[in-house]
Amino acid sequence: MIKPRSNWELFKNGIFGENTIFRMAISLCPSIAVTSGLKSSFYLGFAVVFVQVMVNVTVSLLRKVIHPRIRIPIFMLIIAGWVSVIDMGMAAFVRDVYAKIGLYIQIIVAFASIFARAEVFAGKNKMVPSFFDGLGMGIGFLIALCIIGFFRELIGKGSLWGFQIIGTKPILFFIMPAGGFLAVGILMAFFNWIDIRFFGGKGASGV
């Protein structure tokens, strides 16, 4: 039996220890598709935080009611339900962003990170720890997206949040999908380096 971790540790784990993108390297598809700008990165990250938290809470509340044989389809239904809620909410309230990232909001349904937390954590734990686990994971994802979006928009468009900052012609490569892969790779290497250099960790591969 693993000793229970405090809520704060669970929260931190999602941001640093098991960061979805920089550590687990899952859900990379949206991390490249939407991060050509800081604004769309932030809103997709926000949608993921919402879905992750709500799914974790719902799954942990229902964990004793759900029949083990059909837990996978039930998780899918719960995820799809919350994704639809945030999808409709964003379509109504942040329309300019939704026009760009609407498609990716809908595919949050298929995010490995959300499903994995429901199966691995929320299905076995009480509501409060599940809430903090979801919050940590979601915010870790949000932060990762924002960091990628920050660099890609700054280098690729010379702007931030849509405001022009650098006057010269930017390196367009970085806002194209191939540049996204490169940016994610470089940032992943950078965070591994920090971890090994300053915290004595083993990097993502050594976990």
Binding site: I74, V85, M88, A91, A92, F93, R95
Partner: protein, 199 residues
Amino acid sequence: MTVMDMLRIMFNLSALYIVGGLILAGVYAKTSPIMYIKAKEEKEAALKQMMPEAETIEELGHWEIYRRHPGYFVGKKEGAEMGYIVEGFGKGYSSYINVLTAVDKDFTVQKINILHHAETPGLGDEIELDDFTDQYKGKSVEHLVVVKGFTDTDIQAITGATISSRAVTEAVREGVKTLIAKVSGESNEEESSEEVKHD
């Protein structure tokens, strides 16, 4: 699997469907009117921008291109028709380009606005630049043709983005053609109905 298991699974799924359905219905009921109103406002604002002088802009009907059904509109000031606006689509390099075109009463293009596209950043997306869109101003339908290299009379393609340039021009040209056919067609029908009888 026992009967009890089967009942539990049935209960699980039905309960989830009902509760989930109710939640979604509630959210939809709250958000769909907002979505509808905002979409309408955005469209009106976009049309208004195309013809700022017009007092009212009325929808005349829809036409078909690439299986889409964009609308065409008439702008009026003090009851007199000032010009028309038509929405169109062109098939670009990596997307359908959605363009609004404003024409005056003689069907000369006054202004175009690229509403939506997903062309290559740095190449195709230069169709949004004023240098390109300003070319359409003052062009009549026979001059809405893309030419590679320098031209004074027609539309000059963007280097490296000929397909995108052609798509915009196609959307504008087909839109204007439709306007000519539908708008002047309607007013001519009454006048020429007598001639048809003689034939």
